[in-house]
């Protein structure tokens, strides 16, 4: 018994492991460093996007006369102008605006879950985690629709050299413009979507643990906080994808 007491005292001093560098726990620090390394990956995507876009001609005519052509980079709002249930209506960027709102909202419900965790309010943590899971799933669903629409294409399509008409886009053909435009769309939004999906899986694990009272027994909800960091990072990446893929 006395040995245990001695150990507990020794471990609290600075050079005995009782000190937390930067006043953040090990897990939180590691999450920050992981997110930093993830930022490197997304920066590589953005660099590739910038360099490839630079190698293609920009569309120089009036925006009203814009038609799809592999000769120049397309105007994003002419490509992403569809909305579920409103076929043939020109609604530039409306659907991506909805997706952005859903993701920002999911970020807010995530902070609310973390805040409830600080107050040890189990019921509130459950409620806000559920909302976050719901909004996150809604976002992934929207992205699936967006991909589906992009792959299916428009009626007009693109005439190939052999005379046949190709609709939509895949990794080799793209009716909206240069092939690399479609490739970058699939890789960048796909990589981001994978992150959102992993986030939802983590959130579901958090929810199950919260319901089981694991964190209440542990005395803190730091695990929710760490997953929250990851979730906000995913939102942060979307802010950049949104700007560079849809707006610029």
């Amino acid at each position: 018994m006395s040995t245990t007491t001695t150990l507990e005292q020794a471990n609290t001093t600075t050079w005995d492991g009782g000190n937390e560098p930067m006043k953040a726990s090990y897990g939180k620090l590691m999450m920050w460093f992981f997110l930093l390394s993830d930022a490197f990956t997304f920066c590589a995507f953005l660099t590739a996007y910038g360099a490839i876009r630079h190698r293609h001609h920009a569309y120089t005519g009036a925006p009203e006369d814009f038609t799809f052509s592999t000769a120049y980079w397309p105007i994003p709002e002419k490509v992403f102008n569809a909305f579920p249930g409103l076929h043939g209506v020109d609604l530039p960027l409306a659907f991506v605006a909805l997706m952005t709102m859903i993701l920002i909202l999911s970020s807010v419900t995530m902070v609310l879950a973390v805040e409830a965790g600080h107050r040890m309010d189990k019921a509130d943590v459950q409620k806000w985690l559920l909302w976050t899971i719901l909004f996150g799933s809604a976002f992934v669903g929207c992205q699936a629709w967006e991909w589906g629409h992009f792959i299916t294409g428009t009626e007009q399509g693109m005439t190939l050299p052999d005379g046949s008409v190709f609709h939509g886009a895949n990794l080799k053909f793209n009716q909206y413009g240069p092939v690399l435009f479609a490739d970058l769309f699939f890789f960048i939004t796909g990589f981001h979507g994978t992150h959102v999906f992993s986030g939802i899986v983590l959130l579901i694990i958090m929810f199950i643990n919260t319901v089981n009272g694991t964190y209440q027994r542990r005395g803190h909800y730091e695990m929710v906080e760490k997953v929250g960091l990851y979730w906000h990072f995913v939102d942060l990446v979307w802010v950049f994808v949104f700007t560079f893929f849809y707006l610029v």
Binding site: M22, K23, C43, M110, R119, G219, L236, F240
Partner: protein
């Protein structure tokens, strides 16, 4: 923490949950929504060009600041942690700008060398 103290902790928390402090969170939410709305206003009311792109990038960085500083709580961490995260990120932004502009120059010179 020793295992025997957990039970006491559990009982301590039952029945006295402090009220939620969510004012600041919703404020950040409205700021993010407002900036996104402004971005859409620029997207539809202004012709494409260098100036509009610069406005988009500045607004994006403002949004990123609010997400990282408030939602990810980085603003309220210790100075050393803030710099540990910020310095590599700033260098990354520099890397992107450098690679794109140098890459554009190098690409142009390689493609036009034999013309």
């Amino acid at each position: 923490m020793a295992a025997h103290s957990h039970h006491a902790h559990d009982e301590h928390n039952v029945g006295e949950i402090p009220p939620a402090q969510t004012k600041g969170i919703w404020k950040v939410f409205f700021i993010l929504c407002a900036i996104t709305a402004v971005e859409f206003a620029f997207a539809f009311m202004m012709d494409a060009g260098m100036l509009r792109n610069s406005i988009f990038i500045v607004l994006t960085i403002v949004k990123a600041f609010y997400i990282v500083a408030e939602f990810m709580h980085l603003k309220h961490e210790t100075k050393s942690l803030i710099w540990t995260i910020m310095i590599p990120l700033v260098l990354l932004v520099w890397l992107i700008i450098a690679l794109i502009s140098e890459g554009a120059y190098y690409g142009d010179s390689v493609f036009n060398y034999f013309k």
